[in-house]
Symmetry: C2
């Protein structure tokens, strides 16, 4: 039972929306994706901005394995803002199927990835897509992204020590919820339907239903609305 030591991404979901909004409105990007990183360093809870769902599906099914900016590559590093075209030489890029078969056909020229960490652990990431129609990213743009990253990192640390977060943690530990169950509760508290929760957590509807059964049993309730209600009443 190591539930207590787990860093729980409660509150991250709202943070994620706000951050994605900030990034896409300030920087000139054609598409963007944000995600949470779970304890196994795997990205979950994708939120997209101006990205075709078919493109995202392609990534999820195939190209995530080839992604040079995939979070698993960076979980042990301290990289914050990484530009794909800096990471991969022009030569290698044109031989790289990730570039030739996926990024390029979708009209993308470059990708800038921002990583957020708490206690040195990678907890969230943002991928900003630069289209071929745009000019090459200048150092000024990268600088902007770094400044925004700095503030997001600050904001994230605030979120982790907020009373709301503490309250949520207390709630979850009081009912002895497992890490996955906590995430489900978090999404239930957003009022999301099961299907969306399954998509967000990158697992099947059946799994979510099983998690929900366990949550219902632990909280002694029998509907998602009651779960949200309990959270509301516990403040």
């Amino acid at each position: 039972m190591k539930t207590n030591q787990v860093i729980n991404p409660a509150g991250l979901y709202e943070f994620q929306n706000e951050s994605l909004n900030l990034l896409t409105s300030v920087l000139g990007v054609s598409k963007a994706v944000s995600y949470i990183v779970d304890e196994q360093a795997r990205p979950i809870c994708y939120k997209t901005y101006h990205m075709q769902s078919s493109m995202h599906r392609e990534y999820m099914e195939t190209y995530h394995k080839l992604d040079p900016l995939h979070p698993t590559q960076f979980s042990e590093q301290d990289a914050t803002v990484v530009k794909m075209n800096d990471l991969v030489s022009t030569q290698n890029r044109y031989n790289h199927p990730y570039y030739t078969n996926f990024i390029s056909p979708w009209g993308v020229q470059d990708i800038v990835e921002l990583f957020l960490r708490v206690d040195n652990r990678l907890v969230a990431g943002f991928a900003l897509f630069i289209s071929k129609q745009q000019s090459e990213l200048r150092s000024a743009d990268i600088n902007k992204a770094e400044q925004i990253h700095r503030f997001m990192q600050f904001s994230l640390e605030q979120s982790y020590s907020s009373p709301k977060q503490a309250q949520f943690d207390h709630f979850c530990t009081a009912f002895q919820l497992t890490p996955k169950e906590r995430m489900v509760v978090q999404l239930v508290a957003q009022g999301l339907p099961n299907k969306t929760i399954a998509t967000d957590l990158n697992c099947s509807l059946a799994t979510i239903k099983t998690h929900l059964q366990h949550i219902f049993a632990k909280l002694e309730v029998n509907s998602k609305t009651e779960v949200a209600s309990l959270l509301y009443q516990t403040h």
Copy 2:
């Protein structure tokens, strides 16, 4: 649009549970019922203690019209604790169908009713049932009931000026919810299924569904869980 002036029973439901628990655990009663009183002085949201559901059904269908302690009788008075056997003479009691056909067959000897008011308006009531097996209520018992009533009245006034109540009111007025819609939202926030909400509000399932459609439209959501979620997020 007189929504703003309406006294809204938000938070009353929790209060109701706590009060019923207090009364039944401290005083020697065989059954008890509590209810909220709406703007039309009609009782809604019944909560029962040790009362057979068939007895309550009989009351709801027939005998509420004959009830000498019915809240409509007391909405304009300032009565607080009323003992039925003090109100109705022994002679009249034995000719009264409410007593001979309803109360007596269910083994009840006497009823003590407690009324709670805010700004002189009757907002909630509690009926305590004394069984025939119990000794006649002594003045000491009535005194206890009056002391408890005093504290309940105090507590109720606190509830009405609590931040939680203010927050809820602000939430409802922000979305321009009608009085009935507020009550529905209040019950949704308890995580209750529609059927229970209908029973509580003493109207049909269809009516609740219509109210919910209006609420969904006003809050721009499309599920009850999202309503609870919105309330939770708004603190």
